[in-house]
Subunit: 644 residues, 2 copies
Amino acid sequence: MHKITFYPGGKTVEAREGQSILRAAGSHGIHINATCGGKGNCGKCRVILREGDITSRESGFLSEKDLSHGVRLACQSFPETDLVVEIPLSSQMRRGSKIAQGSKFDELQKSVQSACDGEFKPITRKIFLRLPPPNLDDNISDTERIKRELAKRGYEAAEIRLNLHILRKIGTALRARDWAVTLTILTVGNVIEVMDVQPGDTVNPRYGAAVDIGTTSIVVYLVDIPTGKILDIASTYNPQVRCGEDVISRMIYASEKNGLDELQKLAVGAVNDMLIKMARNKGIEPEGIDTIIVSGNTTMTHLFYGIDPSHIREEPYIPTATFFPLMRTHALGLEINDFGVIYAMPCVASYVGGDITSGILASKLYKRPGLTLFIDIGTNGEIVLGNSDWMVTAACSAGPAFEGGGVKFGMRAMDGAIEKVSIDPVTFDVKIAVIGNCPPIGNCAPIGICGSGMIDAVAEMFLTGVIDLRGKINMDVGSDRVIAGEDGPEFVLVRAGESGSGKDISLTEPDINNIVRTKGAIYAGFSTLLGEVGYTFADVEKVYIAGGFGNYLDVERAITIGLLPDLPVARFEFLGNTSIMGAYMALLSKALRRDVEDIARKMTYLELSVSRSFMDEYVSSLFLPHTNAEQFPTVLKMLESVRK
Amino acid sequence: MHKITFYPGGKTVEAREGQSILRAAGSHGIHINATCGGKGNCGKCRVILREGDITSRESGFLSEKDLSHGVRLACQSFPETDLVVEIPLSSQMRRGSKIAQGSKFDELQKSVQSACDGEFKPITRKIFLRLPPPNLDDNISDTERIKRELAKRGYEAAEIRLNLHILRKIGTALRARDWAVTLTILTVGNVIEVMDVQPGDTVNPRYGAAVDIGTTSIVVYLVDIPTGKILDIASTYNPQVRCGEDVISRMIYASEKNGLDELQKLAVGAVNDMLIKMARNKGIEPEGIDTIIVSGNTTMTHLFYGIDPSHIREEPYIPTATFFPLMRTHALGLEINDFGVIYAMPCVASYVGGDITSGILASKLYKRPGLTLFIDIGTNGEIVLGNSDWMVTAACSAGPAFEGGGVKFGMRAMDGAIEKVSIDPVTFDVKIAVIGNCPPIGNCAPIGICGSGMIDAVAEMFLTGVIDLRGKINMDVGSDRVIAGEDGPEFVLVRAGESGSGKDISLTEPDINNIVRTKGAIYAGFSTLLGEVGYTFADVEKVYIAGGFGNYLDVERAITIGLLPDLPVARFEFLGNTSIMGAYMALLSKALRRDVEDIARKMTYLELSVSRSFMDEYVSSLFLPHTNAEQFPTVLKMLESVRK
């Protein structure tokens, strides 16, 4: 057993026999980025060995120079002695910028209120009962007394069930406040289940939480149920990231020994932490929170419930569940009210999950008569096309390029990421905007490029002729930013002297290739869905863009590279995190829960990965902006004007 | 911490600081009789201190001679050093004689078969499904596939619920045997709950158990569900006896720290032991047992479920539940199938429990047009009067005399107990029969007297003039068996030389007084119930006597002392243990489960303890046979003939 001291922080941890530096760090809560989950495939978990000896597996990711500077991959390095290890900025997880808020929430609250006719209906109902105390002439049992009172109040049921916990506490609860109790009841079919019984009148206060379990981030709304008010919002990176950055690597991780359990506990632990902290800040007992709505993609939902997601990954891609029965929160390890319940936004298929049904609910697409396209671009691009009558949906495995994967200097949209790029068509000078507010002067030195930056960069490179319609770099363009790198030609966006890492930040031909494939997959998804239902882009009245990515996206640039269809900009609308919005709505409204279940049932899922027409569309989309450039008249015009 | 070695057995255990010998023994599974639960009130836990020192609390139960022989009360004795302790025969619990069996079971099985039209319907149903495997065109989730198949098979439900355990195993289960699975389903109202899913066809074999949780004994039937065959029967003393012999002392014990938990675990542990042993004997995996029906009085049922019974004991005598919702067996600690269910025979009130509704089910009283009396005499005498139209029921707290409590040499009907007594009217010679088959010659030396022996003895003493109609011993009867004892006059049934304990076995005046009060309470119960509904004993067409006690009862002698009404002997019928019979029937038949629930709802409960007319009837019943002797014409005739 060797000790490892990590900097920054200086925390010393013990590494178990055979444990890599990455695993040792992870098992003590120290994060090192690792897109591939520690398989040695992504090269992201670079650390600098300051003291001590290790054995190290071969890795193609490290140059001679790297090695001479002590750089190692944490997942491939095993301590032989006590170590001192530095985690460089590029390998540290940093908190995302807070989700844009503002007056949106009042609007959200109002829209739910109107959907409920003002009366919120969370999943369980709390009822205050003042029971007639028993006497020798009225000596039915405690539970029969409860049932009789419920019947009197009009709660008809084929059966009223009380579980063992309730049976064990009901006698005391009834007598604690003179036969005044508050029941929490759940109605399923014609059966009423008593979920909790508390002495006295505890109908108010009452709290619930909406939880968006994203592959990358987890967001929680703490909600005052009686008023529907969002009391607080918290977000954090999904700590499962340490087990793999995308759903596929997490599914693989889940299939390893204890992997599923670890992933489940990580996500639930993060939610617990946030809830407990928020409750404390607001002076609320976590016990007062008794309802949780989770919204996540199909894999995230399986993992949150501790259900093996492995069949999602194998053809024919079958999840265990798309509708998740109501559960008690304590069964999942949630540290709120002992008798709380959890409801999951229903999924549609393996790669169209509760985050999408939630998004459709929040976007109201399912109530719009006009043809609408809903897109959520992340590692997967999920697409819904439809209106109030019908909906088709598909997921295109776009790849993680826009989230930083497979792109040399790719990173998520966080501090230090280039989010905007413009290139002077004459001088090829590059102007950039960087995310973050880093010390000392509020201007971050760039360390990489995020999705919106990539889209800008590729669009500008295309318009300025740095790359051609195949994405090949033109070595003869006449700029010293075009250089021959290790992987072929590359374009330097930021020179070493201005970069946070002291190295050139560039886009390589393979990077551009990845970006083009990603945008191509998404656009091909749109085309295929439209084709399946006999429509064209011109018929689309509205395009909703959901997800954090959308907040930074420049629609014109996205059209330029052929990611988004060439429609008037006014038809596009950024909705933000519709996954959490839908969860919040479902927390408060029975009608909207019914709606979202109808949405899930109504959606026709198209499996693109085996679709012939998708393959054709995809191949056509591997050009800038597209093989059939006439689909992008605006872009053609731009090209003309720029090249003049 | 001191060690105590107990003989017989020679087992050495450690006594925790402040633990009495009784508790130390009990916590290591060594039984010492203690009617009062260790309060020092019953004087039954006599042990002989062979080695070591103790501190001992004062106790009026031990004579100088006792003390000089090392006799101590285990509950009042606390080790100061390591000890060697002998538990004399009289303080040892012994196994009861096996319940009479015979051809009754075939009859029972046939009667259930006819009630089910031959098709047994246990609580959960097992269904074998061969599902169409998923493919890219049929890619609904595993759970939706199950639901679709159930709908196809005609299982309509407002909702099909699957709990977390099922969700976590269903993916693997479906794929283990090529999409052939066996579901165990439960229908409640219009909701179907999937209780288990197993790969392949596991519909058969399948086992269940009927369990009678008596205050004194626990009886278990192991049943082959598909055929209804009773595979094996086991019985044991209820190990809760060590916490108190009657329901009242157990309720008090339950109110002490950890008492409820201990009582729950004792009963469940006994059932587990028997089930596991029976399963092993029959070559069955305990996992194959998935349904348990328990039948017990209201207190026993509460304790088995771990529900605080304390309100049963306090006016107005309210149990927590009379109908117990279906539970999962593992929630109670039953070590059978992980997904098994337990159903409790419904209770009527605090002192009329599931054993009685079970008895009414088994006796078929509720289907008889003629007026029928059902009695179950134990510590409490429970009475049901009625027919197919109506039923009234009551419990008379008869006291524990017939079970050995409050009678100097009283004991339960087990080896060494005098069960039959006859007295020569001239010589006053006593002939006795003793229960058991003790070595060496199959003839047990008597050590005490059980209920049936007491009834015989009092009847004979009354007929021969040893006692008068008030139960007072006639000192001038002219027999040297009438002696002046410590507590006043007594009648020696067995002289010291013939007794197993080496001491006279006698009945004292206080003993007789207790027996008269007991029989008086029961008879007053009959009278009160009849009076309430406007009938007399002459209207009673049938008297069913349930319970183990009934097996040994001499009806004529019971009439002689005024315990049973003076009806023709042919109207009496001994039914045996109807509690377990009813549980067995409910295990196999949905119709009979409905019947027993109807029985419980239909019965009108009379609280005798506050009934004015019961008090009057009780006072009138404190004579032999009764104040109004004309109610017992046969007895009057006997008295005449004997005294001639």
